[in-house]
Amino acid sequence: MALKDTIGIGPAIEVPDFNGPLDLLLHLIRKNKFSIHDIPISSICAQYHQHLREMQRLDLELAGEFLWMASWLLHLKSRTLLPKASADGGEDDPRRELVDRLLEYRRVKEVAEYLYDADVVRRCLWEPNIGVQGHGGELELDWEDVDLRVLARTYLEVMDRFAAAHPPPLQVTPLRFKVQDKMRELYDTVHQNKLMPLLRHLDTRTDPEEVVALVVATLELVRLGGVRAEQRRVFAEIFLRPGPRAYDPAATFHQESLEAVHDH
């Protein structure tokens, strides 16, 4: 068992790294050469608390189970101090459960020690790795040892691999309404009807993308002189009328206007 570094001015007691309160209790019983079946609770309780204080002083991480054990020991101590409730000898020893748990834990430690010795030697052994000629030597798992966790991990690995092989596509939606088309459409309508209420027409359109295309097309046609726009008041209807110049889609279309729609 590794001793923690004892920093600072020589501590009163050594504080080894215990694997829980039972481990610490066994250590104290062993150190005092107490019988595990007849633990002097007062003495053990005092020593246990002294250890906890020392661990706190050294700023060691003190898990909740150490504190729980401290209160249990205090409880046992108070019960052993009380006069026996009944006269018959069948009265349960309040220490009974603690003794049972300590005995069980001591058994665990014995087996753990055996496993420790085995581990020291056995982790130095190497298996054959030459494989079979002409065989991929794919790693295979013993079916007996395939459990839910192996299954879950495999599934997540497959899905990760799938996600890596199928990155989400870039969101490139094609322009459904071309400014150029809308320009011709508007130009033709205005020249046919001689007058066109733009806002009312836009209100009939449900697709925002088409509205944007129409607005840009209007601005473009006005700039080119294909139509004229009139508005009497702010927020009032915008009327489109035929402009001074004829519209020639092939010659006059400007790339910038398309990009304006893109940016939108």
């Binding site: 030459i130 997540l156 691999r161 092989a165």
Partner: protein, 182 residues
């Protein structure tokens, strides 16, 4: 000098290596400077000679500038049978992948499994059917009416589950905090 320790190390190094072993690497690993490359080469030759006696199933051969153990060609047949038998208690990585997909996405079709894995899984699915870990569960009502697959009762028994609904979310099985909450 060729000692028993050197011979023992050479045997162990060859056993634990996949592919040919370079003499120089062996000399360096022995490291004490008492063994030369020529001595290692000599020791390897003595191991080779020993293995040429009857009753040995492997020989030591020199290829591509290195040394490696190979099995005798006449043992190919029984070895193939043996490794085939041994494979029955084992599950290949591919089989495990298909099983995990069927388990977590059931019912699922072969094309779906293939798509998720990015590899053809026909043979593996047949193996899993033969081993009674997955079963046919009707056909999917899409073009081609492919078979649907589900896990079996035997699958549940192996993983200690009463019903397939008890199969935990894969993420929960791997993440710390949820695992603790169980």
């Amino acid at each position: 000098m060729i000692t028993d320790r050197v011979l023992a190390f050479l045997e162990a190094a060859l056993l634990t290596s996949r592919g040919p072993v370079m003499v120089q690497g062996l000399v360096e690993a022995l490291g004490d400077g008492t063994v030369s490359a020529a001595e290692v080469e000599e020791a390897l030759k003595s191991i080779r000679d020993q293995l040429s006696a009857p009753g040995h199933g492997i020989r030591l051969e020199k290829v591509a500038g290195g040394w490696r153990y190979v099995t005798l060609p006449e043992l190919d047949d029984p070895l193939r049978v043996f490794h085939g038998l041994a494979a029955k208690q084992r599950l290949s990585q591919a089989a495990l992948e298909v099983l995990s997909i069927v388990a977590h996405r059931q019912p699922v079709t072969l094309p779906e499994v293939n798509f998720v894995r990015g590899a053809n899984s026909t043979g593996v699915v047949r193996t899993l059917l033969d081993r009674g870990l997955i079963r046919l569960a009707g056909r999917k009502k899409v073009v081609g009416k492919p078979f649907l697959y589900r896990t079996t009762k035997e699958f549940l028994v192996h993983f200690g589950l009463d019903r397939i609904e008890e199969l935990p979310e894969p993420e929960k099985m791997i993440q710390d905090e949820n695992f603790e909450a169980e």
